[in-house]
């Protein structure tokens, strides 16, 4: 018999070394996440996947499961804290869904639907962030960045290019591209790069296809993220 832990009271079996989130997924159980991606090692920055184990909060994407643990995830307390983390992400950037072409395909928005985030609650930062439209095929709208670093990781570890990196720190942290000019057009970025197709929000956008699928008929218009994220093909999900 394999080792098991309890997730919200239900047993979940796991292999040694498997994280709580991975084991839960393998068992068909969804734990919310934004920066976690099946093709990459855990990152642990968004904190949406926090769960409670023996009174302590841990990132389920990074914490190896242990025999006998009682893990709380889908509880009013954890979902309340997750909602607050989403609210933080919404107020620190400029997230105007009605004018965003990622609307309906955006994981941040979809999680906010799932967790019933009705208001950003806090005071908005309204930061001044530029848009980089220099590249022929791809637009960068930094207003929506949530610092999951999936583009950084994909470009560095999969595309072998290092197109993206983070600079500065704290609330001033932001993405930069690999060019002295700061322009994406002056890099060897390609719309076929994995990094061009991994953004969970509306920062990295392919030009000329924005509204090919009308608002209202998009991924998360059709099904909630807790179902979409569990589909086998969700890996490279747009």
């Amino acid at each position: 018999m394999s080792a098991t832990f309890l997730l919200d009271g239900q047993p979940v079996s796991f292999e040694p070394g498997q994280t709580i989130l991975e084991a839960a997924r393998a068992a068909g159980r969804y734990i919310p996440h934004l920066c976690w991606h099946p093709d990459f090692p855990p990152h642990g920055s968004c904190k949406l996947c926090i769960v409670k184990v023996a009174g302590r909060h841990v990132s389920s994407c990074a914490m190896p499961a242990k025999e006998g643990w009682e893990v709380e995830s889908d509880t009013p307390e954890m979902n309340g804290e997750r909602r607050a983390l989403l609210q933080m992400l919404f107020v620190e950037g400029n997230h105007f869904c009605p004018s965003c072409e990622k609307s309906g395909n955006c994981q941040l928005q979809a999680l906010a639907y799932d967790l019933e985030m009705m208001t950003p609650r806090f005071n908005h930062f309204f930061p001044d962030r530029p848009v980089d439209a220099s590249h022929p095929d791809v637009l960068l709208d930094f207003n929506r960045c949530i610092y999951c670093e999936l583009c950084v990781r994909a470009s560095r570890d999969k595309d072998g290019k290092g197109i993206f990196a983070l600079t500065n720190r704290g609330i001033h942290k932001h993405l930069v591209v690999n060019a002295e000019s700061g322009r994406l057009a002056d890099t060897d970025f390609s719309a076929d790069d994995m990094a061009a197709n991994i953004c969970p929000v509306g920062v990295i956008l392919h030009k000329r296809v924005g509204f090919a699928v009308p608002i209202g008929q998009r991924t998360y218009d059709e099904a909630p993220i807790h179902l979409v994220a569990m589909r086998p093909e969700a890996a490279g999900d747009d």
């Binding site: 919404f90 400029n94 997230h95 105007f96 869904c97 009605p98 004018s99 965003c100 609307s103 309906g104 928005q109 906010a112 639907y113 019933e116 009705m118 208001t119 950003p120 609650r121 005071n123 908005h124 309204f126 930061p127 001044d128 962030r129 608002i215 218009d221 909630p224």
Partner: protein, 181 residues
């Protein structure tokens, strides 16, 4: 048994497009049901100019100028329950996308330096409300009790929300009814 008196409801559009009000009309036949339960106070539907004591205030739009602030304060002072209705009231929406621009530069661009202006000056008629340097969602200016996002929220969402509120349930709009776009 609590007496089923009619609830008084005020509505207004601040820095909005009246799209949320249009959506309110989209509840179609439910309007009759609703009107059995409520009376409208100040609203574009009544042409009452100032909000009196109300049970519910529905505010569409964000806060972009001095008049918006006065009206919003009047609503807060008179409405027991204040609702942010729609994307602009909830997070500033489209008008708030001017927030990274300097207001002076905007006014200059529009009223002073654009070619072909007959009288190049920023209007200063006291009848015109002054603009705030930034557009704010209403919860940054007054306390807000409930929020219904959407651009606009659908008629179904508004009906579900109001039906909850009028019947004393905590409003809950979820699943396919909850949209930010």
């Amino acid at each position: 048994m609590i007496e089923q008196r009619k609830l008084r409801v005020a509505t207004v559009s601040l820095a909005g497009c009246f799209g949320c009000h249009m959506s309110l009309l989209d509840i179609d036949e439910h309007l009759f049901e609703l009107l059995d339960r409520i009376d409208f106070d100040r609203s574009p539907l009544t042409d009452i100019k100032h909000c009196g004591p109300c049970d519910i205030g529905l505010v569409e739009g964000g806060v972009c100028n001095a008049e918006n602030v006065h009206v919003l304060r009047e609503f807060r002072a008179n409405c027991r329950t204040l609702v942010a209705l729609g994307a602009c009231a909830v997070n500033g929406g489209l008008p708030a996308q001017r927030n990274h621009l300097d207001l002076g530069a905007c006014l200059d661009e529009v009223y002073r330096s654009r070619p072909g202006l007959a009288c190049a000056a920023v209007p200063n008629d006291p009848e015109l409300p002054l603009l705030l340097d930034k557009v704010h969602p209403i919860h940054e200016v007054v306390r807000v009790d409930y929020f219904l996002p959407g651009c606009p929220p659908s008629g179904e969402a508004i009906w579900k929300f109001l039906a909850d509120l009028v019947n004393g349930r905590t409003p809950r709009v979820t699943g396919p009814l909850l949209h930010f776009d």
